[in-house]
Amino acid sequence: MTEVARVTQKSARQQGAGNIEGAEHTSGAPGAEGGGEVSSRASGSPDTVGAEASEEGQGGLRGWSVGRRRSVWSRIRLTSLRLRLVVVFGLVALTAAVSASGIAYWLNREAVLTRAQDAVLRDFQQEMRNRASALPAHPTQDQLQRTAGQMANSSQRFSVLLVAEDSGGRTVTGNSDLGTFTLDDVPSSLRTAVNRRQPGSSGEKPTYHLYWQRIVEDGRPYLVGGARVVDGGPTGYMLKSLEPEAKDLNSLAWSLGIATALALVGAALLAQAAATTVLKPVHRLGIAARRLGEGKLDTRLRVSGTDELAELSRTFNRTAEALEKKVADMSSREEASRRFVADMSHELRTPLTAITAVTEVLEEELDAETGSVDPMIEPAVRLVVSETRRLNDLVENLMEVTRFDAGTARLVLDHVDLADQITACIDARAWLDAVELDAERGLMANLDPRRLDVILANLIGNALKHGGSPVRVAVRTDGEDLLIQVRDHGPGIPEEVLPHVFDRFYKASASRPRSEGSGLGLSIAMENAHIHGGGITAANSPEGGAVFTLRLPRDASSLVEDGGDRADGGPGGDGEAADAGEGGER
C-alpha cells in the first residue's frame, strides 16, 4: 500500500474528469468541469525524481567513498594513474548509463502504464454508463451481482464490485468474481474520494468523479478505480491486474541493467587503453629522468606528435640540454682550475730546484766549522734554508694532490715485509725514540711501499705533532685486510673537527699557527689509502688520545690489473706478464 499516500495527495482529475464527464452525460449526472492535474504523471514524476535523487545520492556517496578510498590508497602506495583513470572512466560511464536508462525506464513505464490504464478506465466507465446506471435506485443483491458479472465480461478482463443500498436501507454488494474482490481491497482513501460529492461548477448540480489508484497486493501491482452514478446510483469499483505490464517493465529494467554493466566493462577497457597510451610515454619519461639522475646527461627523448606529452618530452629535452651544458661548463671550469694548480706547482718547481740546490750550498757553508758566515747573517741563511725546505714539501704535496685529481696516480706494487717497512719509515725520520711499534716480522704484503711510507709518515708525524709521544703503532690482520693503528696520547681530536681532519687545508682553528704543516698531509694519506682500495678512519680512544686506523688490502694487485698496469705497459707490465707466464713453470 505504499502508493496510497502518493495518490491521495494527487487526486487524479484530468483523465478521470474527462471520463466522468462522459459518464455524467449518459447517467444524467452533471458533468464535472475543470480538469485537474494528472495523477499518473504526477505520481510518476516524484518517483523518477526520487529515484534520480537517490541515484545522485548514491553517486555522491560513491564519489565521496572514492575520494576517501583514494586517500587511503595513496597512503598505502596503491594509487596509480592507471587506477585513477579506470575509476574516473567507470564513474563517468556509470553516471551516463544510469541516468540514460533511468530516464528511458521511466518514460517507458509511464507510457505503458498510462496506455493500459486508459483503456481499462475507459471500458469501466463505459460499463458503468451502460449497465450500472440502468439499475434501479435500490437494487437487490442479485441484480447487483448479475450486473457486476456483465460488466466484468468486457474485453479488458477486470473485476467489478458494485455497492448500493437496497430498498430496506441495507448496503448490498455485487461482485463479478466472488470473494476475490471485496470492499476491503479498495483503499479507504479511494472510497472517500469516490463518495465525495463534488460541488458542481458555476452552481450546477453536484457531481462525482472517477478516481483511480495503483496498489500493490501480495507483491502484485493492481489498478483500482471507482465511480458513483449520480443521483443515488450504485457505486462501482474495478480491479485490474497490471502484472503483464510489470513483467514487461521488469524485463526492460533487466536489459537496461545489463546494458549499464556492459557500458561499465567497456569503460574499464577504454580506460585501460587510454592509460596505456598515456602511461607509455610517461614511463619512458620516467626512465629518461632516472638516467639523467644517474648522470647520463646525454639522455634525450624521441619527440613524436604535438600533444601535451610531446610538449613535455620537448621540455625534458631542453632541460637535459641545459643541464648538460651547465655541467659541462662547471666541469670545464673545475678542470681549468685544477690544471691551473697543476701548472702552477709545476712552474714553482723550476725556480725551486735552483733555489734548493743553492741553499744546500749555503747550509754546508753554515755547517762548516770555519765560521765563514757572518754571525749576523747566519739566522737569515738558516731561515732561507728551512723555509725553502717547507716550500719544497708544499709543492711536492701539491703535485701529489694534482696527480690524484687528474687520475694519473699509479700504484707501483712490491712484496714487502710490513714490519721492516714501518721500522724503516720511523727510522728514516729519526722517530725511533718516540714511537712504539707492535708488529710481527714476516708479515708480507703486496702494496706500494712509497705510498705506504707517505701514509705512515703523515699519520705518525701528525700524531707526534698534535698528540705527543709516545705514539703507538700496531699492525693487525683482519681477513684479507691489514689494519695499522696509530694512537697518540694527546688530548684527542675535538668532535666538531673529527669529520674534517682529512679535508684539504682544514685547520682546526683559525688561530692555529700556519707552521703546523702544509694542510695536505692527511688528505694525501687518505688518497693514498684509497688508491690501494683501503681507507683511514679517525676516532678518539676511550682512554684518551686520537686513533687513526689505516685499512689496506694485503694484496692490492687486483686493483692494478683493473685500472692500468703499474707501469702502463712499460717494463713493470712486462715483468708482470713474465710473472704470469712463469707461474705455471714452477
Binding site: 740546490a357 744546500e360 707501483v412 710473472d579
Partner: protein
Amino acid sequence: MANVPSLLLIEDDDAIRTALELSLTRQGHRVATAATGEDGLKLLREQRPDLIVLDVMLPGIDGFEVCRRVRRTDQLPIILLTARNDDIDVVVGLESGADDYVVKPVQGRVLDARIRAVLRRGERESSDSATFGSVVIDRSAMTVTKNGEDLQLTPTELRLLLELSRRPGQALSRQQLLRLVWEHDYLGDSRLVDACVQRLRAKVEDVPSSPTLIRTVRGVGYRLDTPQ
C-alpha cells in the same frame, strides 16, 4: 777511480743549470754543461764524460730521445732529472735506457749520492769468473761474453748481473736488488729493477720473452739460474 769523475749536465733552465753546477762542483765533481740535447750530444763526443745528468724537458730533442741516441753507441750511466714524477715519464725514461732518475726539485746531496752510487757500479771488486750456460761473467775484467762475444752492458746492468750471479739459484727481492745495485733506501722504485731486468734479458737471453737465465720468482723477485 782516482781521478775526479767528470759529469755532463744537460739542462735548459739557466738557473737550475747554474745552481746544480755550483752544487755538484762543490761536491767534488767536474761538471760540463749543455743547454740543449744537441749541444749535449756534441759535448759527449768531445769530452767523454763518466756520467750524464739529463733533464727530460728540453727544447728540440727531448731527454728521452737524447737517452736513446746515447745508448746506441755508449753504455755510460745516465741519470734523468724529471720535472714531473708522472709515472709515464719515469717509465718512458727507464725504457729509453736511463739508469736512475731523480725528481725535481732535487736536493744536491741526493743527486750526489745517486751519482756516486751509479759510478760505483763500474768498480771491480773480485777477480773470478762465473759461467751460466753460454754466458760467461768475468769479474776481473768486468766483462760479460755470450758465446765468446762481448756484451755491451751499462754499469747498472752489469752490477745487477753480478749481484744475481753472486747468489745463483737464490731469489732476490726487488727491494734487496735496489739496495745492492742502486744503493737506494727502503723506498726504492721497484720499476728500476724491472726495467733493468728487461734490458738485461734483451742482451743475455736467447729468447728475451721466455727467459731461461734470469727468472722471475712470483711474489719475491728475480734469480739467476744455470740453464739446463
